[in-house]
């Protein structure tokens, strides 16, 4: 297997959604993903971190081939998604697994777990019933729902949130994908179950050597479960670095603000106020000119940040940040 080539590369990707009034009057475009470039290597675990509305879910859905990019390319093993025909696109979708955010909503309530897991196999042409059952059993064993027999006949409402999320993961694995996209896989779960699911994802990634793209708003969970972090703000990647490097030496003012706003449990927290940048994340319909964080940035330089888009700088080796401060 060639490891020279990344599994997936994304080049200047834009995913915009057209906004219309009354169904036909064009008002503009929501620039959910607006100029994103990165590459994912085989067997790598990366986290996309950002607040709601920063475009991270739209990015995930574009990677999955569920949204068509407005411009730019998603290239998987040398071929652009846009060039794929119908059958090839279907094959591609079989190679990327999707773990949804809300396990309670991701599973059809009227199908039992066995049918839910058989569905992707049927769609992707696994005709042999015994083969399907073998693969379902293997997937359930992999997410530690054993013995499989006790679960395949159950319906989603009979399982707890943690068990449901395991079923969702099993469904994503059943076609043996090479990329797993997990969109906030634990945000709906309790603290004690979260860690369990994250550990599970990590183990599966290591065993299968698959690439994991992990989307989250919670920086504190990424430390132990990802190799690299991409920080997103208003449709763009503003900073990227290996996990420890980014957490110890955040370069972009937005990342710095996020990290100071986040608390580790400590009784002293109650005694101090946290510095928080004013304002709110910008509308993606009319993003600010120049750097998108400049209206809230404590270091904004008039005449630069509000005029010109910052390119990607490399203030430390392997650590990229899109901020004029590094010039």
């Amino acid at each position: 297997m060639s490891t020279q080539q990344p599994l997936l590369s994304v080049e200047d990707l834009h995913t915009w959604f057209e906004l219309r009034h009354w169904g036909f009057l064009r008002v503009g475009s929501v620039r959910a993903v607006d100029g994103v470039t990165f590459a994912l290597d085989h067997g790598e675990s990366v986290a996309f971190v950002g607040e709601s509305g920063c475009g991270k879910s739209s990015l995930a859905r574009t990677l999955l081939g569920l949204h068509r990019p407005t411009s730019g390319r998603v290239v998987c093993e040398g071929r652009s998604l846009g060039d794929l025909g119908r059958a090839e696109l279907k094959a591609y979708r079989g190679r990327v697994g999707y773990v949804q955010q809300d396990p309670y909503g991701a599973l059809p309530p009227f199908m039992d777990i066995g049918r839910i897991l058989a569905e992707p196999l049927k769609v992707h042409g696994v005709r042999d019933r015994a083969e399907r059952e073998r693969r379902i059993e293997a997937a359930l064993a992999e997410v530690r729902l054993t013995p499989a027999k006790t679960y395949t006949s159950k319906f989603p409402h009979m399982l707890s949130g943690g068990q449901l999320q395991r079923v969702v993961i099993a469904r994503a694995l059943v076609l043996e994908p090479s990329l797993l996209v997990a969109d906030e896989p634990v945000s709906m779960l309790d603290a004690s179950v979260r860690v369990e699911i994250l550990e599970l994802l990590r183990r599966i990634r290591a065993q299968r050597n698959l690439t994991l793209a992990f989307i989250t708003h919670d920086l504190s969970t990424v430390r132990h479960f990802a190799d690299r972090i991409f920080v997103m703000y208003a449709g763009r990647i503003v900073e990227q670095a290996p996990v420890d490097e980014l957490l110890e030496h955040p370069q972009h003012p937005y990342t710095q603000a996020l990290l100071t706003a986040l608390a580790d449990p400590d009784p002293d927290n109650a005694q101090r106020e946290r510095p928080v940048p004013g304002g709110e994340a910008p509308s993606l319909l009319h993003p600010p000119t120049g750097c998108r964080f400049h209206p809230r940035c404590p270091h904004a330089m008039a005449g630069t940040c509000d005029v010109e888009d910052p390119p990607r700088f490399e203030p430390r080796p392997g650590h990229h940040s899109a901020c004029w401060l590094h010039r």
Binding site: A191, S220, A263, P265, A270, E280
Partner: protein, 324 residues
């Protein structure tokens, strides 16, 4: 009396009738809230913490089977109050409430200023003008520009709407505000700025808070004391210093170890097993099944035991001279 705690809850029970049987959502809960104190009620989903909030303000669904115990406000027993008296004297004036997801329950066709002023008109019979003037003050307090009084909820961001809901709870200057998961649907930065506001309000107005949450990190942002709930009961009530640095109950210890931290190399650990069903709680200690330290005695139900000043724990380990 001034010596009495602001709120004193004793042996509170709230059971529901459900198809699966009687759900013991709140099952003998006792705690105090002191003046100008923030008590955090911490617990995972399904532990009964939201039911507790509803029980405290008597906003109860129809399928209540049992609702008894004692709720004293300023030393005065309120359980005997008729609904009308409770509504007029306690709810909103003495105790304000921010319900879970309340920011999504604002009336979409009424201007937010009017909605915020409504409790004053309903509970205190104030004129529209007087209530609006007060609404303007409270908007300043929670950090929303007064221009927003004339807006509709859809014109406000999530963070703004949450502040509006908080303004509504504060408008009648209650001594105590109960907030059920006030920031869990919000972004990190918005969450931090709302917590900053709450700290300021507590410091400047001397308001007491009960913050109900599942989020350990957020709870430490305001807690003076922490009450940890498990399967309908309190299992530990400690001051924040004790709770966050040296939790006593085995569940508290396991919960703290499961929290991922930014600045810590150790990996978080999950708690094996699941909490018991509230429809059929075990007879003994409710955490025993998942507890790494269980022993013979745990088949009996432990009582809440005061271990030291400002710390009580529901665990047999402490009956036998401390942490084994």
């Amino acid at each position: 009396m001034a010596d009495d705690p602001l709120l004193s809850v004793d042996g509170l029970r709230l059971h529901y009738r459900a198809r699966s049987g009687i759900v013991h959502a709140v099952d003998g809960v006792s705690f105090d809230v002191r003046r100008n104190e923030a008590l955090v009620i911490l617990g995972e989903s399904g532990c009964g913490k939201s039911s507790l909030a509803k029980a405290l303000l008597r906003v109860l669904p129809r399928n209540v089977q049992t609702f008894d115990g004692s709720i004293r406000v300023d030393g005065e027993e309120t359980m005997g109050y008729a609904e009308e008296r409770f509504r007029q004297e306690i709810r909103w004036q003495r105790i304000g409430l921010v319900m879970q997801a309340a920011m999504n329950a604002l009336n979409p066709v009424v201007r937010v200023g009017e909605q915020v002023a409504e409790p004053l008109r309903v509970h205190l019979g104030w004129s529209r003008q007087r209530a609006q003037a007060r609404a303007r003050e409270v908007f300043d307090l929670v950090g929303v520009s007064q221009d927003f009084l004339e807006r509709y909820p859809f014109e406000l961001s999530g963070g703004m709407r949450q502040r509006v809901v908080l303004a509504m709870a504060l408008i009648a200057e209650p001594d105590l505000v109960i907030m059920d998961e006030p920031t869990s649907a919000l972004d990190v930065l918005t969450q931090a700025s709302i917590m900053n506001r709450l700290k300021r309000i507590k410091r400047e107005l001397g308001t007491s808070f009960i913050l109900i949450t599942h989020d350990v990190a957020t709870s430490s942002e305001i807690a003076d004391r922490v009450a940890l709930m498990y399967a309908g009961q309190m299992v530990e009530i400690s001051n924040a210093e004790h709770f966050f640095h040296d939790p006593a109950h085995p569940y508290a210890q396991a919960l703290m170890a499961s929290v991922p931290r930014l600045h810590q190399a150790e990996r978080p650990e999950h708690i094996p097993g699941e909490p018991p069903s509230l429809a059929d709680p075990p007879a003994g200690c409710r955490f025993a099944e998942r507890c790494p330290k269980r022993f013979g005695r745990c088949a009996e139900a432990p009582d809440m035991l005061t271990v030291e000043h400002d710390r009580s724990v529901r665990c047999w380990l402490f009956r036998y001279g401390g942490n084994l």
